[in-house]
Symmetry: C2
Subunit: 284 residues, 2 copies
C-alpha cells in the first residue's frame, strides 16, 4: 500500500497503475467497519482501490467539533492495508486549500439547506460539495463509494456529479451497524457507556417506524409520533426526525412509495445521525 500526501503524487501513483479501473473511498479517517465495507465493495469491483483520509475543515460549523473529531491515522493505515487498499491519499489542509484558494461548489435549494444543512449551517454542504468535487477530480475514479448513513450527503453528491458532468459512478453501500443496531460512526467513540445505551433509541425508532409502515401505517404524522415516542422514552430529543422523499428530501405527508426517515440527535455531547428507507405495506 502506498501513502501519498499531494494531488501530484496521487496522480503519479495512479498513472503508473492506469491499466486498471479505480474504485475510490473518500473518508475523514477514524475508520470503522462502515468504511471497510465501502473498501470491500470497491475491492470487489475494481483493480485499484484508493482511500482518502482528510478531515475537511470547511464542512465543520463549530471549531470545537472539528477539534474533537477523532484522528487515528496510524491505525487507519493498518486497517486500510488489511482491507486491501492500494493507495491512501492523506493530504493536509494546506495541500487542499493553499493560499489564494477561492472556489466553492454549492447546491441551491432544499437538498442542501434542509435537515443537516439547517442544523449545521448552510456552509456545511458547500464544504462537502467542494471537497468531494476536489477529491473526485484528483482521483478520477471509475466508481466512488459512499455510505448510506450520510443520506443527505449522498443526495448532494449525486446532484453535483450530475450537474457538473463529473465522469464517475456513485455507489452507495448500506449502513454498517453494531449487533445491537447502533449505526457505526467515528463519533461513537465519544459516547459514554450510558450515552451509548440511550443512542440505541435512534435505530430502535427507525425499526419501529419501518415495521409500522410495513403493517400498513402510511400517515407521516402518525409515523413521526411513533418515532418521537421511542426517542422520548430514552430521553433523547432529536434535532429533527423527518420523513422525506429519497431524491429531493422534500417532506412526505403520506407514504405512497419508499420514503426516507432521517434522524439527528445529540446524545450527551455527541451528535448522531441515522436513517432508513421505509416502504408502505400496501405497496409490497
Amino acid at each position: 500500500m502506498r501513502i501519498v500526501r499531494t494531488v501530484a503524487e496521487l496522480r503519479d501513483a495512479l498513472r503508473r497503475a492506469r491499466a486498471g479501473t479505480i474504485g475510490f473511498v473518500p473518508t475523514m479517517g477514524a475508520l470503522h467497519e462502515g468504511h471497510l465495507s465501502l473498501v470491500r465493495a470497491a475491492r470487489a469491483e475494481h483493480d485499484i482501490v484508493v482511500l482518502s483520509i482528510f478531515v475537511n475543515p470547511t464542512q465543520f460549523g463549530e471549531a470545537a467539533d472539528l477539534a474533537a473529531y477523532p484522528r487515528t491515522e496510524e491505525r487507519d493505515l493498518e486497517l486500510a492495508a488489511t482491507a486491501g487498499v492500494d493507495i491512501v491519499f492523506a493530504p493536509d489542509a494546506a495541500e487542499m486549500y493553499p493560499a489564494g484558494f477561492a472556489t466553492t461548489v454549492s447546491i441551491a435549494g432544499p437538498i442542501a439547506h434542509t435537515l443537516e444543512g439547517a442544523e449545521r449551517g448552510r456552509a456545511h454542504f458547500d464544504g462537502v460539495a467542494t471537497v468531494v468535487t476536489k477529491l473526485l477530480l484528483a482521483a478520477m475514479p471509475d466508481t466512488a463509494y459512499f455510505g448510506a448513513k450520510d443520506a443527505q450527503q449522498v443526495v448532494v453528491v449525486r446532484r453535483l456529479v450530475a450537474d457538473l458532468n463529473v465522469p464517475v459512478r456513485i455507489a452507495v453501500v448500506e449502513t454498517a451497524r453494531d449487533e445491537d443496531g447502533l449505526a457505526l460512526s467515528s463519533r461513537n467513540a465519544r459516547l459514554s457507556a450510558d450515552d451509548r445505551r440511550r443512542a440505541l433509541a435512534l435505530s430502535r425508532a427507525l425499526r419501529e417506524m419501518t415495521d409500522a409502515a410495513a403493517d400498513g401505517a402510511s400517515d407521516s404524522a402518525a409515523l413521526r409520533t411513533l418515532g418521537l415516542g421511542v426517542l422520548a422514552e430514552a430521553g433523547v430529543t432529536p434535532e429533527y426526525l423527518e420523513i422525506v422523499d429519497p431524491g429531493t428530501l422534500a417532506a412526505v405527508a403520506s407514504l405512497d412509495g419508499p420514503a426516507l426517515v432521517v434522524i439527528a440527535a445529540r446524545v450527551g455531547e455527541t451528535r448522531l445521525i441515522d436513517n432508513t428507507l421505509i416502504t408502505p405495506g400496501g405497496s409490497r
Copy 2:
C-alpha cells in the same frame, strides 16, 4: 466533422477517438478569426479537436443582451469544419441545465467581483465558472484554449481549475485583431460604421499606454489619464479602465513589472472589452 448535442453523445464520440490527445475550444458561437486562432492552436498540439458552441444564459445579466447575442450556427459549423475541428458539441440549455439542476461553482474575492464582475453583476462569473467546469468535465480534454481577450475569464478559469483539481492544461492564445487594431469579438457585428470607428479608441488607448510604459512611464495614475484621454477624444466613456496585477487583478499603483490594462466601454449599444499586458521600459 461530427456534431453532437448531448454530453452522452460527446463522450461516446470521444471514447471512439480516445487513442489520441484532446484539445478543446469552448465558445459561444458566432465564430470569428479569434476563435479560429484557438482552433489552430489546438489543431497544432492535439490529435482530436473539440469545439463547443453554447450561448450560456446564466452568465448574461441582461435578458436583452442574451437575446441580442448573435447566433450563426450554420456558418459556425462551416468555419469549424474548414479549420479542422473533429467534433462540435452544441448542446441546448435543457441539456446543460435540466430540471432539478442546482449546482453553482463560484469564485470568491476580487478575481470574480471586480471589473467585469462589478459591471455585469456577481452572477456573471458564477455562470462562467459553472459552465466552464461542466464543459471541461464533459470533454475531459488534455488542453483547453481560451482567448487572452477575455482576460478576467482566463484568471477565473485558471483559479477554478487549480482549486478543484480539474485535470486539464489551460492555454491562452493572444487576442486576434483586425488590421486597424480592433479586437475581434462576436459583438463587433452589432457596431454601426460610425461606432466601429469610435471603437478603435480602445485599442488605440492600449497602444499609447503600452508605448508610454515602454518609454519609462510607470505611474498608474498618469498612464490611466493618458488612456482616458484617448477614449474621451473619441467620445467614449469607459465603464472601467484599470491597471491591475495579471494574476490577482488587484489594482497596481506603480509598474514594477508586467501589468494588465483592462478596458470596458459601451460604444453605441454594444459593450466592448479589450486588454493588453504592458511592461515598464526600465525592466527590459
